[in-house]
Structures are given as C-alpha cells and as structure tokens.
Symmetry: C2
Subunit: 435 residues, 2 copies
Amino acid sequence: MERIRTTAAGSHIGERVRVQGWLHNLRRLGGISFIILRDGWGTIQAVTEDETALAPLRDANLAVETVLAIEGTVISNSQAPGGLELQSPRLEIITPVPTPPDIPLNKRAVNTALSNLLDHAVVLNRHPARRAVFRLAAGAMLGFRRTLTTLGFTEIQSPKIVASATESGANVFKIDYFGRPAYLAQSPQFYKQIMVGVFERVFEVGPVFRAEPHDTTRHTNEYVSLDVEFGFIRDHFTVMAMLREALAGIWETLAEGYSAELGLLEIALPPIPATIPHIHFSDAQELIYRQHGVDVRGEPDLSPQDERWLGAWAHAEHGSDFLFVTGYPMRKRPFYTHPDPSRPEYSNSFDLLFRGTELVTGGQRLHRYEDYLAALARANLPTEPFQSYLEAFRYGMPPHGGFAIGLERLLMQLTRSDNLRLTTLFPRDLTRLAP
Amino acid sequence: MERIRTTAAGSHIGERVRVQGWLHNLRRLGGISFIILRDGWGTIQAVTEDETALAPLRDANLAVETVLAIEGTVISNSQAPGGLELQSPRLEIITPVPTPPDIPLNKRAVNTALSNLLDHAVVLNRHPARRAVFRLAAGAMLGFRRTLTTLGFTEIQSPKIVASATESGANVFKIDYFGRPAYLAQSPQFYKQIMVGVFERVFEVGPVFRAEPHDTTRHTNEYVSLDVEFGFIRDHFTVMAMLREALAGIWETLAEGYSAELGLLEIALPPIPATIPHIHFSDAQELIYRQHGVDVRGEPDLSPQDERWLGAWAHAEHGSDFLFVTGYPMRKRPFYTHPDPSRPEYSNSFDLLFRGTELVTGGQRLHRYEDYLAALARANLPTEPFQSYLEAFRYGMPPHGGFAIGLERLLMQLTRSDNLRLTTLFPRDLTRLAP
C-alpha cells in the first residue's frame, strides 16, 4: 500500500491507508490504546481496544521514537486531535528504539535548560514546537527568494573564504589556506555590490561569520544572512521601500503555507504598513530626550534601551511594530556608506527596528570611484586589499544600495524567543561548536 | 519618466521610454551613431544622425561602461539587434567612466587567458556570455528548490564551522575558533541526515569546502552543493528516482525562464529519460573489458577514462547523456554507506555520469544505531567525535538516502566548458583567493 502523509489523511476518510513515522506517544485509557504517530509534517492518532494489535511494540518493549508504519482506516472523530483517527490499526516496526530520549518529545514544551536543549538539539529539534520554528525559517527563505525573483533579482553565491577582512580588520575568523592566511567572510557585502555591475539586482542567502567574542542573547558567531543589493536607486528610501516588499513577501508566504506552524507557536503575523514609519536618527534622539528625559543627543549610536523606547513610540504613535531609523552618523558606519548630501555628517543609511530591536541594517553605498579612494584614505585604509572591489567602481557603477536581514534574528523576534540560539538550528557561539 | 528594462521595450512600441544601464558600445557608420545600452537583463540599440545628441558622452570623452540613461522612442526595426531600436535618443550621464576596461566587454567572446579572465572577473562577469552562465546557475538553484519544495522537502541551513572533520581527517580547512581548533564543513552530510529525523525530507543549497591540494580543471576548493536527503526509501533506486525528478525540475525551470541565456550560449538541454539507464559497477567494468580490452575488473573505482567510455556507451546504447553507475565497492565509500544486502562488498550507492563525467554522488545510508557503531569500529574511527550524529540514530531513523549535485560542475558540463573555474563566480583554488 502506498504511504500517505499524516496531513493528507483528511482526503481519505473511510479508506484504509498506510502512514509512516515515529512513535510520538502511546497511552492506555480505560481499555483503549492511543498511539500517536508523528511524520515529517504532522501527527495522527490510531486507536484500538485490541491489545494484540500492539504486540509489535509491546513484545520487544519498544520506546517512543521507534520508527514504524501503521495501516488503519481513517475515521472522522471530533474528539480526536485534528478530528481524525485511524481505526483497526496494523503496526509494523521499521526501526526499533529500546530506550526513550532523556528529555521527552511528546510534552507540550521542551522542559529543560537551554544548554541541555542545545546539547541535544539533534533529537530535540524533532519536538513539534521546535521544528515549527525551523519550518518557519524555511518559509521565510522561500518567501524572500520568491518575492525578489518576481522583482527581477538574480541569486548569487559569493565565496566565503576571502583574502582579507570584509569590513574591518577585527572580528574575523582566520583560516589556514594551504599555508597562507585567509579569512571567513563577515558578509557578502563587497561581492553583492560588485554583482550589481553584472545583474543590477542581486540577492544571496548564505552563512556569514563573525568572530565577535561577546556572549549575548542576541548574537551568535555564524548566522544566515538574507542579503539584497540593487542599482539605479534614488537614495536609501528606495532601499527601504524594497525591504518593505521583501518583508511583506515573507509574511505572505508564511500566511499562505505555514498556518499550522504559526498556529502551533501561537504567532499572529504583525501587519506591515504600506509605508513603514521612519524617523531620522537626530529626531529620534530628541524624542527620547523629550519623552524620557534621558539626553542621548550627540551619541553616535542608539543603545538597546533607545531602540526599545523608539519601538514603543512607533507602536503608540503609528500602530506599527516596525520603525525605520534613518541617517545614522557617518562615523559609526562602514567606509562604503553614502553620506546625506545635505548633512554630510549623517548617512543615507537606516536600521529597521522590529518590536524595538534592530532587525535589518541597510542603506545607500558610495558608487563613484573617486569617492571610494577618498573614503579609504579618510578611514586610513590601504587601497591594495580593495583592488578588485575598486575595479568595479572604476568601470562604472550606478547609485545603489541594499540591506541584510538576519534570518535567526527575524525568527527570534517573530516567535518572541528570548535567545537567538533558540531560533538557530545548530548554534555556534564562544563556547559551542557542536552539535 | 519611469525607467523600463531593455527586455520590456517590445511592449512599448511607438512610445517614449527611459532605459538605464551601461554604455556597451558606440559606433559611427555612414553618419549614423549606434549606441548600445546594456542593463541587468539585456541590451538595446539607440540610433541617431544628430551628433549633438551624443554631446554628453563626447564632450567629456567618456568610455564604454559609462552608466547612463537614454530616453527614446521605441521603433520596430527588423535590421536592429532584437528587432527594436530607440530613436531620437536623449542621453543623460549617471556615472562617467573615463577609460575603458583593458579587456573589451562588447566583443562576441572574452578574448583573454583564463588567469587574466579570473583576475578581472569583477568586471568581465559583466560580459553577456559570462553573465549568462551565472544567470543559468541562478536558474538551476531556483529549479532545484522549486521542485523539492513541491515534493514536500524543507530547506535547511546547517553550520559551516564544525568541531571535527565531516568524512575524514584529511582535506579540511582549519580555523582558529577563539583559540580552539575548528574546521570548515566538507559537506552538510551529517546535518542533512540528522534533519531527516526532523522533517523527513530536507535540502540545502550552500558552500562546501575541500582542502584538496590538487590542481585540476574539474576541482576547486570551495563550491556550491545542492544537497538532498530523505527518509522512508526502499533503497538507492528510490534516491535515483528523486534525483531524476530534481534534474528534470531544473531543466524545466531553465527551459521556461532562461531561453535568452540558453540561446546566447547555444545550449540545447539534453533530454532526461523518464528512467535514466543504470549499470552496476561490476557490469560496467566487464563492459569496458569487452568493448575496449582494458581489464579494470577488480579496481575499486572508475577512472575518468572509464567514465568517458561508459558515457559513450550510454549515448550509443540508450541515446542518453545520463547514466547511473550503481553499487560502487564499499571499500571506496564513506563509513555511513549502506551495503548491498545481497552482495555486501558492494554498496547501495551510485554516481550519475553526465556526458561521461561524474556529476552527482549519492546512495542509501546506514540507519540503525548498531550498524553505525560497527561501521565506525571497522573504519578504525573513534565514536567520541560522532556523539551527536550517533544520537540521531540511537533515537530512531528510517531507511534514508540522498545525493549532492555540484552546481558549478553541472554548469560546466551543461555549457561544455573545459574548466570548472569558468562556471564559478569567483573561484578559490590552490593559488587563487581573490577576487
């Protein structure tokens, strides 16, 4: 008999079907046995009063997570989880498991300390609530690519082993490359800009590596970056409008195809305004001073507390979970940042705050060769390591800009998790290199 | 005026439009000037007899690759490239370029030595024939993901920094991870298997790193791997059937959306048989002996010459550019390979030859915990570095298998390029770390 997915059982009411998966739970209640089978998509309950039907499990004393097939008749039953159950089940063991995992997968939540959860992520990511997070991550990538492809973007895969640090000398992982030093790319920044010269509109989904030695709930040392860069923009507002489209596309894909996961995690997708509200960096600092009496004016960056205040303000004032802060001071932005032509101490850059936490950074970049030479000189950087990068600008680049969304950060804030490691499949941090 | 793409001009015949891009070529012929503008999607010709229209370029003596906008009236003209041209053009310089690239982008092919081409890939990838290759790469990724998503696969992104070598101790790049040794992942093999326990069907598109010190036309040290792994298979033939679907999906996406690139590169997509022919490893060696008198029987692997012979045989015998060779000897396959139950010296694995060159490797993996313990012992490997990997099998894994397609290798063979570096965006090899 052809196997069906548990999520397809509703189309087979009254029929005999075969499902395959893991023994998620087995309970006995008043002479009735309830077997929950979990496959890659969902779960289904089988019921029987016939003890001998359970013999394949009982005789060998098998535990949950045993891999098995169940043939049964699909019955509609409003009492059953999901409204369906399999009756007259026939069990067939595929891979026996003699001992259950130390931390159960069939409770409502995974009840264990974070470090334990991460140590055993290999098995604990099977928990329906854990895997729903990573299914949403897949949905976010799908929605991102789908939207950008529709908008004429071409996907690239840039090299991760690079000859010199991308944006600054610090915080890069060093590699032994056949006896020569090399580094892991901190971002695809230079390559995505270069590729604007080829395709005009490019995106990349890939790992980035940051050797930052800090231990916070919001950082890891390897994460997935959703990168965008495109040409022929007016200024950073063109980039902000594109970012809004990308986020809306992600939301649309999640809403269409991932309602089971959103439901399980009790997530309501916050509406994305047609135009996300924006505030200039200097006005944001004024606002904080007026509203909270804390004088951050003149500070070169926003603190996490500043961001939370601004997030609360955007929610109260504009009913929006999203807020663009524009015009960060040039002195805190990388050398390729385009200044605000009317106030050159500020930049044509932005951060997108989502619920009061930075989610995306982006902006307009310099595009003239002479501007790069001047910017490198100002930053006291030698031109030699940037020869290939500079070649792109020497031979004509349009005004361009882009942004990068941290995939795990997006999921962290969407699922209201309190640690980025909870939305990272297998996190890497100061102390963690496995699994 | 809103800018349109050059490829959209056909829908605007008789209208005044604005296009933006790079000055691809400028010629004067019998008093008429022909301006070719290249944007991210195609090219369009503008014509004028009015010298003053060219003043923005001529006055500053600007070169090709200058970024500019042209407004003009779209006219259908069968003499023009693409059957369209812009008349009464008005030029506007966006980014001036005073000197042209050393190697011209507007000749039919890029005429320079490979090393020069790679040194200046930043600009030379703008050449229409070069960028067509990388657009096809994007199309291949799109088709791969689209097909697998439709078949119920979930995308994963596994970590690239790992605590120990994936498949063997040799040929890994070593990283300094906050003072500890770590390595770059040679493949997502262990993680994709682990994730079969979570999602049943997974795929990944990402970089893999091989520190192999060889200098061949078919290898680089970082490439993009299209990885698939899924559970509840019968044996490697289930995996081969899935690979056939993935390839057919890639072909379909390329045929639908990338005809301009295929046409430019003069590529006809070779038909993929509904069932790709297959031959067992030992029969393949017999065939080579019979047909060519070379006795390779007993050799543990096929040589490139063997593969070419088999490719020619598949073409002659089955009219197929594709051939599966199944059942490679266990001793040349990694420890997680599933043996052929009836002939345990052979494996349930396969290679897919495309035009006589290996394109894909795959097979069925072991799935029982005890089998892993035995296989590691047989391979003289300690279990300690594999603890997390083993945890997945300890708690129930179904029969499963998968494969990995090298993206650049696929493009190399599809475009009949003679060096893998020609289908790699920015290649990494023994001597090359930039651009």
